[in-house]
Symmetry: C2
Subunit: 358 residues, 2 copies
């Protein structure tokens, strides 16, 4: 028997509902593959603010550190939007990334044949799309200093943030990306704005040098504006993309939306030593929270990513992913991915359908 301690961070909005489904699925799969999970829950985001005044209490971070992997649902909501930024739910997420040193964010965007019609793009443009965005997650403009709102000599305010990368930060995320590309189709596209930004010039230099160590990976470079266009025009040209924190935020969301069903997409955030964090790409959807309408499948697929990347249990991960495809094949759909002639299920019912298949 393998034993793992998993920290659950249900967070806000639909978080608790979809987390409940993922936990049920993990239990079923655990039984099947002789894996024992010990679950411990902690607060983050709005839920943590309401309970403690802080979006990421120190005890939550300790609980995460003291586990083998962290499964996060979603954070945020209108309720906390007016708080000062360091007290808002997002600050909890950024604190978690920094606190666990999660420098690598893996965001797959794969078109599922069953859901291809959900895409706003033409079938022939997106059929077969399978992109992995590797986003740097603990550097760049998200954390660079100086930052803040300062007063200028003329007495007006000036907002400032700093986009900065050191060579070692670039190399570290570069290695993750080259290795991911090796396991995929061997193509890596590095995205930057080297025609304008010095930080991108250093990025491009360092990634280019690193390529010598990965002769089996075909490296290309693209400016971020062009990448946004190409994702929309001809997404099949991409295999693995590596980019900085801000560009990765934008491009991974665009790539996700190509699939037309971001309610289906998981992500993994990994560091050098601490446990990884696994979470859906979608948000906390406060408008449908508590109504048993949410799509739990991205959360379930995040649990599968946790098994694969966080716990090295790829057989169990495969089993979950296969199960999700089967449920879709049967025609089961939540409201966000419903189409004519399909069965509309709520969050819990979708979980039950999946467990039946598993």
């Amino acid at each position: 028997t393998h034993n793992y301690r998993i920290t659950l961070l249900p967070g806000d909005g639909i978080g608790p509902e979809i987390m409940a489904v993922a936990v049920d699925v993990l239990k079923v799969v655990g039984k099947k593959f002789d894996i024992q999970f010990e679950f411990q829950e902690a607060l983050i985001g709005g839920a943590a603010i309401d309970a403690t005044g802080e979006p990421l209490p120190g005890s939550s971070l300790d609980t995460c550190r003291n586990s083998d992997a962290v499964l996060l649902a979603a954070i945020g909501g209108y309720k906390w939007d007016s708080l000062a930024s360091h007290l808002r739910p997002e600050a909890g997420l950024l604190g978690l990334r920094a606190g666990l040193g999660l420098f690598a964010n893996l965001r797959p965007a794969k078109i599922l044949p069953q859901l291809i019609d959900a895409s706003s793009l033409k079938r022939e443009v997106v059929e077969g799309v399978d992109i992995l965005v590797v986003r740097e997650l603990t550097g760049g403009i998200y954390f660079g200093k100086p930052k803040g709102i300062f007063e200028t000599e003329t007495g007006e305010k000036r907002g400032v943030n700093t986009m900065a990368y050191t060579e070692s930060e670039i190399e570290r995320i570069g290695r993750v990306a080259f290795e991911a590309a090796q396991k995929r189709r061997g193509k890596l596209c590095s995205v930057d704005k080297a025609n304008v930004l010095e930080v991108s010039q250093l990025w491009r230099d360092r990634i280019t040098k690193l390529a010598q160590e990965y002769p089996d990976v075909e490296l290309s470079h693209m400016y971020v504006d062009n990448a946004a266009m190409q994702l929309l025009r001809a997404p099949k040209q991409f295999d693995t993309i590596v980019t900085g924190n801000l560009f990765g935020d934008i491009l991974s969301d665009a790539a996700a939306m190509l699939t037309g069903s971001i309610g289906m997409l998981p992500s993994a955030s990994l560091g050098a030593s601490n446990p990884g964090v696994f979470e859906p790409v979608h948000g906390s959807a406060p408008d449908i929270a508590g109504q048993d309408k949410a799509n739990p499948l991205a959360q379930v697929l995040s649990a599968a990513m946790m098994l694969r990347y966080g716990l090295n249990e790829s057989t169990a991960a495969d089993h979950i992913e296969q199960g999700v495809l089967e449920v879709l094949q049967r025609g089961d759909r939540t409201g966000d991915i419903i189409s004519p002639d399909m069965n509309l299920l709520g969050c819990r019912a979708m979980g039950q359908a999946l467990i039946q298949v598993l």
Copy 2:
């Protein structure tokens, strides 16, 4: 008779070919509407580098200043890609923007019914799309300091750029955007990353305050990652978008690509006092340069934007825009927008077809 002095900056690649068509069109329209153009040509980009060693010689900037409007074609090419960044063609473009104080970049993305099938998005998603992106062009991370590649205490390199905006910079571009929205459908969406960046928080505050002066405009705010998704998912929700230099670079290209035909899109860059610069959205296409294959219509439509926004000659501008639609209606197409049963024309022939219609 109205007299205007126009500076032509043909630049690189297909630049000279498409510029020649636009000049012919201006002459024809000038005759018709009793407008006299005096054209003066100047060097920019790779062409300027080859001739003078600099991407924007001081004399070019003087020539531009000393005119009523500037018509630019395109700059850059593989040939100059290995030069140091301050000597590359792009530096000429950034120098022109800074030198003329062109803080407002207007980038319309409108789906033409004749070209709707060129879009990679489904017809029902893009039909009727008509977006204007108002991008701040002389501030933000493109020009913020400190910037450069520095050595850290541990002896490794660190690349740094600074994203900064002052209140007055935000207000200035905000006014342009609110006024543009007033002349359009009265909806303005301001795009930022205020959940992470302080510079965006100041941006959002300032734009929100400014909205009080434009009660007839409905203002909304969106995070840049979500905006990239929404442009792809449901672009019709947007009317006018206002955003900073970097986000505008990315989103205006994404918006342009929605149309499926960036060979058709013009842009305008305006300042407080100096002449504006009008240029196509597409690049210099070095791969087809000199082959009479380029689509001259974005350049022609840039000339129309010049008439409208730079010279206040909107009747003449209307006439050109109408002519372009007629040519498309006849089925004339260059290679980039060709589809079955249409007439394939080269660059010059497309120019002639248009002049015939005009």
